[in-house]
């Protein structure tokens, strides 16, 4: 859903793709394991991997950082 969000140090309009989504997905998977829900944990892992690969695709062509960083 489009909204104002912060990216690159500025407020921009668009659909946010949160870089943190995979981490929270995996954290929920760990919580499901703790609760003894194996299939929920596996499903959350699978969704998080898909999000991770999607983010990889978005960052695949990032430019190199400035030399000497």
């Amino acid at each position: 859903m489009p909204a104002y969000y912060r990216a690159g140090g500025a407020a921009v309009w668009g659909t946010p793709v949160m870089m943190s989504i995979p981490f929270f997905g995996y954290a929920l998977a760990f919580a499901a394991m703790w609760a003894g829900r194996r299939w929920i944990a596996v499903a959350l892992w699978a969704l998080s991997v898909v999000a991770q690969l999607w983010l990889f695709r978005l960052h695949l062509t990032d430019p190199l950082p400035p030399l000497g960083f």
């Binding site: 104002y4 969000y5 912060r6 990216a7 690159g8 140090g9 500025a10 407020a11 921009v12 309009w13 668009g14 946010p16 793709v17 949160m18 870089m19 943190s20 995979p22 981490f23 929270f24 995996y26 954290a27 998977a29 760990f30 919580a31 394991m33 703790w34 003894g36 194996r38 944990a41 596996v42 892992w45 998080s48 991997v49 991770q52 690969l53 983010l55 990889f56 978005l58 960052h59 695949l60 990032d62 430019p63 190199l64 950082p65 400035p66 030399l67 000497g68 960083f69």
Partner: protein, 187 residues
Amino acid sequence: VTPDLSRALNIAGLFAVAAVLAAALFDQLVYHDLPCPLCLLQRAGFVAAAAGLALNVRFGPRPSHYGIVLLSAVAGAAVSIRQMLLHIAPGSGSYGDVLLGLHFYTWAFLIFAAIIVGSAAMLLFDRQFEPPRPAGLPWLGRAAIGVAALLALANGVSTVLECGAGLCEGDPTVYELLEPAAPAAGG
């Protein structure tokens, strides 16, 4: 390899992956080495592999859990290979800190490769998959899963602080949410 020994080895592996994640967070917080997007995706790969190990610890060893570890490590290794290739040409610079002569992304690839080899080797031992599955969950296993879960959560919070609700900058120098907002793009 008995189911109990397999579980013990998976607990050790889970602590080892947690140590890698903790070292990355330590470097970020103490030496202010902010992770780039590809660095964050490599961390996510380690957390994903940890989830597979944790499944083995929590529910007993299964081939599908090792499959989860292997797929996660391959996904993480793909990111680290991409980052190594970005900097492989002479004069293309590098990113982040160096440990024992290797950049973190090179270390990440080596560790992902070790995870792949280790998981494939574990799959060679069929006896661990025979019933009965190990009963209960030892306190060390609970501790390993708890530490991994906390590190996943800490990385999520850190990523929100660094990148806000969007994608991260390629060359981050500040935590976006801790800095004053810039004017909206295009007025």
